[in-house]
């Protein structure tokens, strides 16, 4: 099994992106000229690494012995019984080291950065999960690390900020804009453009300029590759539906991608509807956005008529982003994947449902996926199967949840 298993035939939905980094009309490399030569270098370095068995051996070693892969596929019996419909399996990405799927990608990219001779890492983070994962591998390999985080997020994710600092990272609060993930992404790009000679920009999701969407997807595809093996072993067949939460969309892309050519498997991405899809306070870029260009790629964006990017809203800092990975935009347009929304309230309800029935405290991000699965399961037959990606654990969210439940900690 390889973490970067991307073999696909010409008619496969898995063969993208094209040479320009496009998935249909989406993707591309919309960056300042200063960065363009670096992206070309990165693309070449990534292709060389992909073709090198030693790179895969090294990555597999760290994924197994450091990240803790494979992660289990858990049959959620009590939740299944309570919902009274399809059988629900949970892909337990929250059991990875650092508590989320983020480390899969970070591990791949840090090994690539080392091959490229870079000594300093910059990254953006929203909820802090990607920041913590990045700070972790920088500690592991003794590399300098700067994490850009919106000032608002620094305030609402204090435990993760402290974790990153413990790990030796410099956490830089970004006050521009609304001080959330999109502003952190802008600032990380500015750092990269300024320090191109020694710095590697470690993008945390399947967005940004090519080759990031492809590379992050490949590194996250280990989730779907394992899921496929595990469900075949457990049930002797593929699931009827796979449900995953979408901010930028890396955990969803990772679990979807190995199933793209299995049309019997329905792929459902759950965006953060925030206060409701039509409330104006949402992060549902595919359902309520239009195609546009931001952060190096063309994709669905929340924007006004003049092409100015609008602020996203979600109870989950990790989903609070006005864009989405370009491959999701393409999968939506061609109808291969379906994109739906779950509100803040539905996520909170699902958070408690999962905690009480399965003894698993999910991240608020993942709770969006659970919320939709809980809506879907009762409409399906009992012999049907749903796999939900539990992309992260919810320890970081207990303060937010307590506040919404009116509990003082």
């Amino acid at each position: 099994m390889s973490a970067t298993d991307t073999q696909a035939g010409a008619n496969s939905l898995r063969s993208g992106p094209d040479g320009r980094g496009r998935f249909g009309i989406f993707g591309g490399r919309f960056v300042a000229e200063t960065l363009m030569p670096l992206l070309l270098e990165l693309d070449a370095a990534y292709r060389a690494a992909q073709a090198d068995p030693e790179f895969h051996r090294e990555l597999d070693y760290y994924l197994k012995d450091y990240v803790g892969r494979p992660s289990p596929l858990w049959l959620a019996r009590r939740m299944t019984e309570q919902l009274g419909g399809a059988k629900i399996y949970m892909k337990r990405e929250e059991l990875n080291h650092t508590g989320s799927h983020k480390l899969n990608n970070v591990m791949g990219q840090i090994l690539l950065a080392r091959r490229m001779g870079r000594t300093r890492i910059v990254a953006e983070t929203g909820a802090g999960q990607h920041g913590v994962a990045t700070a972790t591998v920088c500690a592991l390999f003794g590399m300098k690390c700067a994490i850009y985080m919106g000032a608002t997020d620094v305030e609402r994710q204090k435990p993760n900020v402290f974790r990153m600092r413990l790990l030796g990272a410099e956490v830089v609060p970004v006050t521009a804009g609304a001080g959330t993930l999109k502003d952190a992404m802008n600032e990380a790009m500015r750092d990269w453009v300024t320090n191109v000679h020694d710095t590697y920009f470690l993008v945390g999701t399947v967005a940004g300029p090519h080759p990031y969407p492809q590379m992050v997807r490949d590194f996250q595809s280990v989730i779907g590759v394992e899921t496929k093996e595990q469900i075949m072993a457990a049930e002797g067949r593929l699931p009827d539906a796979i449900v995953a939460a979408i901010g930028g969309g890396s955990n969803a892309m990772g679990i979807f991608h190995p199933f793209l050519d299995d049309p019997e498997v329905k792929l459902i991405g759950v965006e953060a509807a925030g206060c409701g899809l039509d409330s104006g306070r949402t992060a549902a870029s595919i359902e309520r956005g239009r195609p546009g260009v931001l952060h190096g790629n063309r994709t669905y964006l929340l924007q006004d008529d003049d092409g100015q990017i609008t602020e996203a809203h979600s109870i989950s800092a990790g989903l609070d982003y006005p864009g989405v990975g370009p491959e999701h935009s393409w999968l939506s347009d061609i109808g291969r994947a379906e994109y739906v929304g779950a509100t803040d309230q539905e996520a909170l309800d699902a958070f408690q449902l999962c905690t009480r029935t399965e003894g698993i405290i999910p991240a608020l991000e993942s709770a969006h996926a659970i919320a939709y699965a809980a809506r879907l399961a009762p409409t399906m037959a009992k012999d049907q199967i749903i796999v939900v990606n539990i992309s992260g654990r919810g320890d970081k969210d207990i303060f937010t949840v307590a506040e919404h439940l009116g509990v003082k900690l």
Binding site: F30, A32, G292, V293, D306, Q308, I309
Partner: protein, 278 residues
């Protein structure tokens, strides 16, 4: 011949370098930015860059970011930016206007309609910061059809082998981003500039403007001693910002202060004598 080509030809014949100041549309309001724009040619501007405010200017430093946000607050839309250029053109038919901005507002407006409307308003060239040659097809057709110049950016990181790709489809002039970094931060040394220019000259016959980090008359004069033009943006925006009142509104000092600084820059640039042959 485009207005930009004409202007550079005239300057060359006079043995002078060009000063290209920058004004952000609607910063902090439409009337103030139009007054600055209208005052710029008399204060010594040879060409003018008009910034199109965008919510996420990821290649720009803090000064231009703030100006963009003030512009948006001041009511900037693409339509309004073009209105401003049209108003400027009523009194000035000679000074080239270059719009500088990001891809998304252009795409939202519609690339074809944008090029047609921009040309009709009196715009001469476009600099789209996040549109490298690899993504240039969105504008290439409509810009060529309407006769708008596409000004390409070149960076210190651009290798020689890539220069022909960058210059393919470029017209008007070439914008050399003199540092790796964002606008208005570090300044390139005279040595760095002197080393960079011959490399570009070998690859293009277009005039070369230097930008990013030029904040004083001395630095501007240095730039035109090796290149054909100097772009000054953040330094003027800092001055503008310094004249605003506590609510971020323009004061009686705003327009004169910006134009006064521009005059100083222009005098230094125009004092540099260039041999008419190059």
């Amino acid at each position: 011949m485009s207005r930009i080509a004409r202007r550079f030809a005239t300057l060359r014949a006079q043995g002078r370098g060009a000063l290209i100041p920058y004004v952000e549309a609607c910063d902090p309001d439409y009337d103030t930015s139009l007054a600055i724009l209208r005052g710029m040619p008399a204060a010594g501007a040879d060409l003018i860059e008009v910034g199109v405010p965008f919510s996420d200017p990821s290649a720009d430093g803090p000064t231009i970011q703030k100006a963009a946000l003030r512009g948006l607050k001041g009511g900037s839309t693409m339509k309004r930016v073009l209105e401003m250029v049209r108003a400027f053109r009523e009194g000035d038919d000679g000074t080239p206007i270059i719009l500088m901005g990001y891809t998304n507002p252009i795409e939202a407006y519609g690339a074809e309609r944008f090029c047609a409307d921009a040309k009709a308003a009196g715009v001469d060239g476009l600099i789209v910061v996040d549109m490298p040659p690899e993504e240039a097809d969105l504008l290439a057709g409509p810009a060529a059809a309407t006769g708008l110049d596409i000004i390409r950016l070149v960076a210190p990181t651009t290798p020689d082998a890539r220069l022909p790709i960058v210059f393919n489809g470029a017209s008007g002039f070439v914008y050399y981003v003199s540092i790796t970094g964002v606008t208005g931060t570090r300044t390139a040394s005279t040595d760095e500039l002197a080393a960079a220019l011959p490399r570009l000259r070998k690859a293009t016959d277009l005039p070369i403007a230097i930008g990013f980090g030029i904040r004083t008359p001395e630095l501007a004069a240095n730039a035109v001693s090796v290149a054909d033009a100097a772009v000054v943006a953040s330094a003027l925006l800092n001055t503008l910002e310094g004249t605003l009142d506590a609510d971020g509104q323009a004061t009686a000092k705003t327009v004169p202060a910006v134009l006064e600084q521009l005059r100083g820059l222009a005098d230094a640039v125009h004092a540099v004598s260039k041999t008419a042959s190059k």
